[in-house]
Symmetry: C2
DNA sequence: CTGTTAGCGCCTTCAG
DNA sequence: CTGAAGGCGCTAACAG
């Protein structure tokens, strides 16, 4: 005699069928896009479902459908704020649509992934994959997924953007708008700290910056564009370089918040007032942006929306017949420029 | 004819059994803690598993065991660094032991949870629950779990600590050691910024601070202990208060990194050099700690270890007979004091 | 120590 | 439009 009444805590499809006076099959049909069921019958079944508070057993469903109902997330992003928001967004949407998310992370370089990706794809039984940056641009990963012929959605991919479905933000446009904000404040000497050259978003942001300057008829000055690698440390070096120039910029736009935080740090050390003498802008609106004084003017990505869109695209691809074009759908979501305390009109005695 | 060969991409238990020349049941036994199987047989089965790269179908297993194999994580922690590390630790361990993690988050107050917790527990079919702080101290949640009679592990609970199994760090000891570090540097006037009074860890950290002062024979000065609420903003106010004292402290120990970051920000604004004129220490070793200049001396919690321990405790409780004492096991893990650049010996012309 | 039998809850296939 | 039969892959329960 089992004491733990674990045999399906609630009602089963059979219970619902009995209550509604139909067969289990009919209930199943109602559950799975109620097609080919007479409206009256459907009503009755739905009433029974509500009354019994029936919840389908996912394991049984998955077993019968020969689908794992698992989606794999391939990621490696050192930014915990981004990761946690992405994860939560993905999981919430996954749960709504009956999938489960499994997280995979092998390392930060293409090579590290190359070693394990084939094994992972063959031994796990994912119905599909979501690939977050920068993994979404790792050759070894992309080709392994192609080889395995798995449905896949990439987030913010740069290379061969139309190989799989993808979701991205318009980083170029956002960077352009942020730059315009700085120009509108009267700044004319703008410094820019680029991100990792291999990271796709990095090029987009730089391109947007340049476009805005061009729009304003300002000539690009090479010395005002410095390379960073998205890390705080690299931001320190970049800021040091910009702020030691004979004629330093009056505003610096960094490709992410961590590097912008570094600019604020270096400025403080040098006795340069932010934003009084130097406006600073970041990108991403991470936790860092508001854990800093002054709080950062930055760009906010709609991460939760992207996560939701990624899951939707993937489930569509999973359920589509092969060769249908949903597998290459591209979705572009807009970013929001958030103005806080680190940017202000240029000081009258300069620029 | 289905083109998508989804019928269990790999081998089944039957294939393994055939290859090993045994019955499926024996393979099953090897899989589930190979007990009551002759070593030689076990060897053969394991060889077959390896050769076929067999991976058990979780859905089938879950269906047969009448277990969902789902663990719910009840959490609401505004700190993304903590959350992401916890999540990743939990998921990794879950995967190793064949469970899946489902994330639930209703809001930041006891009241918000009260509204939905019963519905959640009755309609989801979790085999067990892991509850992270501060939800681990929400009355409505705790009593709902008791009512539902679900196996549960709490992380860092404060109230009724032995109601369920729990995992915690020794925050008091860690705070005491950090305070001793500051004392060893020669500081005698130490400021302390407390965290949310309702948050259990907060009291522990304060208690450790006081204990260390007592150890050193230093009298507590009420004005040097200021209330915060773990947020950056509250840290700003607290720092402002401490640093405007007629005789300000030479070192400030904040109950978390965000508030320590606020101290650094206020100090910079006031022209106080950190660490030259003021040593600062935080707690948690979040991303913030190293995205700041100077990088923070802080306390690192073994979050991944805690996550692993929580999962282990929970699976033990799930598999135990009711009334066994594993359900109340307590695990206490040590923290690490990490010394970076925000603390240094007290300036000779002061203290 | 090992095999047999009988489902777990649901869905696919094929008849009505 | 609906129902009956059978099976997905695995594991309890019971034999031997």
């Amino acid at each position: 005699m089992r004491t733990r009444a674990n045999k399906q805590s609630g009602a089963t499809i059979k219970d619902v069928a009995d209550l509604a006076g139909v067969s289990a099959m009919t209930v199943s049909r109602v559950l799975n896009s109620g097609h080919r069921v007479r409206p009256a019958t459907q009503e009755r079944v739905e009433a029974a479902i509500r009354e019994l508070n029936y919840r389908p057993n996912l394991s049984a469903r998955s077993l019968a459908k020969a689908r794992s109902l698992f989606i794999g997330l391939l990621y490696n992003n050192p930014n915990p704020g981004y990761v946690s928001e992405l994860l939560i967004g993905l999981m919430n949407r996954c749960r709504q649509v009956g999938y489960h998310l499994v997280i995979e992370n092998f390392g930060s370089t293409d090579e590290e992934w190359a070693a394990d990706i084939d094994g992972l794809l063959s031994s796990s039984n994912f119905d599909g994959l979501i690939v977050a940056p920068p993994v979404s641009d790792f050759d070894s990963v992309i080709s392994a997924i192609e080889r395995a012929d798995l449905p896949c959605v990439r987030i913010a991919p740069e290379q061969e953007p139309d190989l799989f479905a993808s979701v991205r933000t318009d980083d170029r446009d956002a960077a352009r708008r942020m730059t315009r904000h700085l120009l509108d404040l009267g700044h004319r000497r703008l410094g820019f700290i680029a991100g990792d050259a291999g990271h796709g978003a990095s090029r987009q942001r730089m391109s947007g910056f340049c476009a805005a300057l061009e729009d304003a008829g300002i000539e690009l000055e090479d010395a005002l564009i410095v390379e960073g690698r998205f890390t705080y440390r690299s931001g320190l070096a970049a800021a040091e370089k910009l702020l030691s120039m004979p004629e330093p910029p009056t505003a610096i736009f960094a490709s992410n918040d961590d590097m912008a935080a570094a600019v604020v740090g270096v400025a403080a050390r040098k006795g340069i007032d932010v934003p009084g003498q130097l406006s600073v802008a970041g990108f991403d609106d991470t936790h860092t942006a508001t854990t800093l004084w002054p709080q950062l003017t930055t760009v906010r990505q709609p991460i939760a929306d992207m996560a939701g869109a990624a899951v939707d695209l993937l489930t569509a691809a999973i359920n589509a017949e092969p060769d249908q074009d949903v597998a290459q759908t591209q979705r572009l979501l807009p970013c929001e420029v958030i103005i806080r305390d680190s940017s202000c009109p240029v000081a009258p005695d300069r620029g």
